[in-house]
């Protein structure tokens, strides 16, 4: 009986202990599960936190800049060209001259000019171009600095600043774009040794008329005066020069085109307000491509001057036999004809004939002008380097002859794009 009682007591004592152990085990299991759950939840929260952060960043980026257009295909990153286009053109010349008295620049190699060319769009509507020329005299000259405004009403394009006026063909070109080493005599004598760069404003418009030809009209006003050595206008800047140019272009065939231009420029010879000088210009250019590497170019320009100033013939000094040149009927003309044959992708040869009546140079024969004959050979070393040799014979109004051999090297570096003429 005692034993039974003891056993019952033992069982009674053991049962709660076993139950407690099971409960503890169950609780431990629950704790483990809960711990795991918390860990999982933590991971989930972390993951979601990261996603939220990422979404926030994307939203921030979206609010900062417009979304880039979807590029469905592989797009590789590319370097960007700098905003400012910068280039330089060096013009080196060797001049062998026949006069015994050196007038400077003869019989030596000289860097005639180093042009620094800058340009860039200012905004969606305008562009700024500038050319600064450095020469051997260690002087810098602002050749061009002008703003071009596009997209104006009536599709007008306006230039304002200092630029080369669109009068004729060669006057609008930079020296490195010429077919010859020097400018034609008519340009040198009337407008200046290197043409004209003047401050002003001009307006250009393509004329929409039903025609096989393309017509472009330019009207401009410039400060008065000419380039260095020019005699067409006086030196007073406040008396402006007004000019207009009508370009007429025709594609005769795919390989042949013709351009005929008419120009008119009126300006002042002195300080009074009258426009005594009226210059009428006619230019004709015919280009025929024999094939992609061979072409023939025929170009001619004539300028006719009507000057209403008074003229007198006087002998200076008396008895010297030298007269002050003038033109009795107040008219003068000058022009040139150019033939250029690109006979190879790298070689071209050509010939230029000049004839120009002078405005007021002292001459022994008042009816005689300067006449020039120039032949040249050009070697295009590469797209950026060119060599040219030219022989010129001048029959001058002074009664003297001059022979010149010119060797020119033109080298371009950087960004240098020629404007369309």
């Amino acid at each position: 009986m005692r034993i039974r009682i003891i056993l019952i007591l033992c069982v009674c004592c053991l049962i709660p202990a076993t139950a407690k152990a099971d409960e503890i085990a169950s609780l431990a299991s629950q704790v483990r599960e809960l711990t795991q759950l918390v860990k999982d939840l933590k991971l989930t929260v972390d993951q979601q936190q990261r996603e939220i952060t990422g979404l926030k960043q994307i939203n921030e980026l979206k609010s900062q800049a417009p979304a880039a257009p979807a590029v469905p295909i592989y797009q590789q990153p590319r370097p960007n060209k700098p905003f400012l286009e910068v280039g330089a053109v060096a013009d080196v010349a060797l001049k062998l001259d026949s006069p015994k008295v050196d007038q400077g620049g003869a019989d030596r190699v000289s860097v005639r000019e180093l042009e620094l060319v800058l340009g860039s769009n200012v905004d969606p509507y305008s562009r700024l171009d500038a050319t600064v020329a450095f020469n051997e005299q260690n002087t810098a000259e602002l050749e061009e600095a002008y703003l071009t405004r596009f997209g104006l009403p009536l599709d007008l394009t306006v230039r304002i600043g200092r630029f080369k006026p669109r009068i004729g063909k060669d006057l609008a070109l930079h020296r490195d774009s010429l077919d010859t080493v020097d400018e034609p005599l008519v340009i040198q004598r009337y407008f200046g040794e290197e043409g004209v760069n003047k401050s002003g404003v001009d307006v250009t418009k393509l004329i929409d008329i039903p025609s096989l030809m393309v017509h472009q009209l330019t009207v401009g006003v410039l400060e008065g005066g000419t380039g260095e050595g020019g005699t067409a206008f006086g030196s007073t800047k406040r008396r402006p020069t007004l000019y207009t140019h009508l370009k007429n272009y025709l594609d005769i065939t795919d390989m042949t085109n013709l351009e005929i231009g008419v120009s008119d420029a009126i300006g002042s010879r002195d300080e009074d307000v009258t426009f005594e000088v009226n210059i009428l210009g006619l230019d004709v250019t015919l280009i025929h491509y024999l094939n992609p590497n061979q072409s023939i170019k025929l170009q001619s320009e004539v300028f006719y001057q009507n000057r209403t100033e008074s003229f007198t013939i006087s002998e200076i000094p008396e008895g010297s036999g030298r007269f002050f040149k003038n033109d009795l009927d107040g008219t003068l003309w000058g022009g040139y004809e150019l033939f250029d044959f690109r006979f190879n992708s790298q070689w071209a040869l050509g010939f230029r004939f000049d004839d120009v009546e002078l405005v007021d140079n002292p001459v022994t024969n008042p009816n005689k002008g300067d006449i020039g004959y120039s032949g040249y050979l050009t070697f295009y070393q590469s797209e950026f380097a060119r060599w040219r040799v030219q022989f010129s014979h001048f029959d001058l109004a002074t009664g003297k002859d001059d022979n010149q051999v010119l060797i020119q090297g033109t080298f371009a570096i950087g960004d240098h794009k020629h404007k369309l003429q």
């Binding site: 394009t157 393309v214 272009y249 594609d251 795919d254 590497n293 790298q346 590469s382 797209e383 950026f384």
Partner: protein, 306 residues
């Protein structure tokens, strides 16, 4: 009396405006493309809804085009312009400026830069210098020579046509699908026709066929030009003569606009064949559209590389 006149003038203004609107709606979209191949893709997608003109004649080297006043007029009157992008057509900027249309400046809303999305070859990995010749800043720009790129160009053109001429979206999409489908079929044919070309090597005049060579698996690492844009020199020709002989190269290619004399001289010395490849649509007979153009070039290479 005055009121009658007023009504009459208002009516006239209304009719004139309506006529102009109707004309504008019916008039085809005027597109100017720099090259004939681009013009052809625009034509394939736009068909009669577009009037396309190109600037560079395929007879001339696209690097050195001198735009004419007639090109200026075409651009001035265009609704959309399409160009290569990169730095191939340096004359394009001055042309757009001369036309006075700022909306056609590169990157603007009515200009289509076809280089977008193109995988470029020969992208420089070092600072550039002109001592390396007329080298291109962004990589080789002659991507027109790979027909796979025509698919990307077509997609770019389609997107812009849809943007500027929304009412004809489905028309353009349908034409583009037909174009791509035909192009896919032709590309398979071209690859099959020149399957034996893969792994062989050619020498080209300039580095303008590298994209076509890439498409056909042809090796093209040597050129008649010693540097891009620099004409062949005797020293380089001597090197090439040795190279062709040592590497068993039998084919020299030139476009129509470069002198063929150097290729002929080298071919005569080495026994290789000098062939002319078209570089653009319309350059040679039979290349009047993009399919004829690639037909001609792939067939020529296939025959000469047999």
């Amino acid at each position: 009396m005055f009121n009658k006149l007023k009504r009459l003038s208002l009516l006239m203004v209304f009719f004139i405006s309506a006529a102009r609107l109707l004309y504008a709606a019916a008039a085809p979209l005027k597109v100017v493309a720099t090259q004939t191949l681009y013009a052809d893709i625009v034509r394939q997608i736009g068909k009669e809804k577009v009037e396309v003109k190109s600037v560079a004649s395929p007879k001339f080297n696209v690097h050195f085009i001198q735009p004419k006043p007639s090109d200026v007029r075409n651009v001035a009157h265009a609704d959309l312009v399409v160009y290569t992008g990169l730095d191939l057509e340096e004359w394009w900027g001055p042309l757009v400026e001369a036309a006075g249309r700022p909306e056609f400046f590169p990157g603007r809303e009515k200009s289509v830069d076809l280089s977008r999305g193109i995988r470029l070859l020969k992208v420089p990995d070092h600072p550039l210098s002109r001592a390396e010749g007329d080298i291109h800043l962004f990589g080789n720009p002659h991507y027109v020579m790979n027909p796979e790129n025509a698919k990307i160009m077509a997609e770019t053109i389609l997107e812009k046509l849809k943007e500027v001429d929304l009412p004809n979206t489905s028309y353009y999409e349908e034409n583009e699908r037909a174009f791509i489908s035909r192009l896919d079929a032709k590309m398979a044919q071209w690859k099959e026709l020149c399957s034996h070309c893969a792994g062989q090597e050619i020498v080209a005049y300039h580095d303008e066929v590298v994209y076509l060579a890439d498409f056909l698996g042809i090796k093209n690492e040597q050129f008649l030009e010693p540097k891009p844009g620099i004409p062949p020199t005797p020293k380089h020709m001597e090197f090439l003569e040795k190279y062709l002989k040592e590497n068993n190269v039998h084919v020299i290619t030139t476009p129509t606009y470069f002198p063929k004399s150097s290729a002929d001289v080298l071919a005569a010395k080495t026994g290789a064949k000098a062939v002319t490849l078209a570089m653009n649509v319309g350059e040679l007979p039979g290349t009047e559209d993009i399919f004829g153009f690639f037909d001609y070039d792939v067939k020529t290479l296939s025959e000469v590389l047999k």
